[in-house]
Chain length 115, copies 2
DNA sequence: CCCTATTATTTAGAAAGACTGGGTAGTGTG
DNA sequence: CACACTACCCAGTCTTTCTAAATAATAGGG
């Protein structure tokens, strides 16, 4: 009966999650969104309105690069923007993973076990 | 070399941490602050300007109750406001702990291990 | 050939939570 | 009496996410 993860509790960890997803393979925004949802095994509830700004943020910070895909293949929809993690992004991802571990340890220690 | 936990990454988990601390023993704001810092074993960096609003939030939500301490004992400083977790707060703490577990599982799965 | 469903991107505005950087107050100690 | 120490309080700001759309492009059905 756990609530879906969204909003406040996600704060600041989304960027690392996006980098982790893009580290496995390049992808466009919608793709990243679907992969986040599937890797989160349904426990993650993310809005496009949160994801795209996150991608812009990462691009602006030089952690991912982006290019427009040539729409040669026959498919529906507008041109897609393909994101790729940069070397700087990979370093940040490592740092983000360390921060995540640290965060889990410290907060977990305070929150503690149920009685 | 982990960064101290503060700001964005804390978002939404502070309330549960405060409830967890108050579940062990009642305490005034400054006390809660010191106990958070000590239980976080130096890994936590929290400002009073963040803690007190959190306490008001919890009080307003009926998760903690507060009373002014009679300043009988000889000590320095102004009157202290003693916070105590309520029954509703205890239920919320349990829920918060479940949410924390869930959060760690889901985000951890996405963030994954360093290669 | 239009209409709709699907895929994908974009954005404006609001809300929430924590931060910065102070200030106020009371009392023991030198 | 000045000062350090303890404790509390607050205004304004920043960042991140959410809400709630609009827009774009095309395949496929009728």
């Amino acid at each position: 009966m756990s609530e879906l993860i969204s909003g406040k509790s996600l704060h600041g960890h989304l960027d690392t999650m996006v980098l982790a997803v893009l580290d496995k393979a390049d992808g466009h925004g919608f793709d990243v969104w679907r992969r986040l949802e599937s890797e989160g095994q349904g426990g993650l509830k993310l809005k496009e309105g949160s994801l795209y700004p996150a991608l812009y943020r990462l691009e602006k910070a030089g952690l991912v690069s982006a290019r427009w895909e040539d729409n040669e293949t026959k498919r529906r929809g507008p041109r897609r923007r393909i994101y790729k993690i940069t070397r700087k992004g990979k370093r940040q991802l490592e740092k983000g993973r360390e921060e995540w571990e640290h965060f889990v340890n410290v907060v977990g220690r305070v929150v503690g076990a149920p009685a």
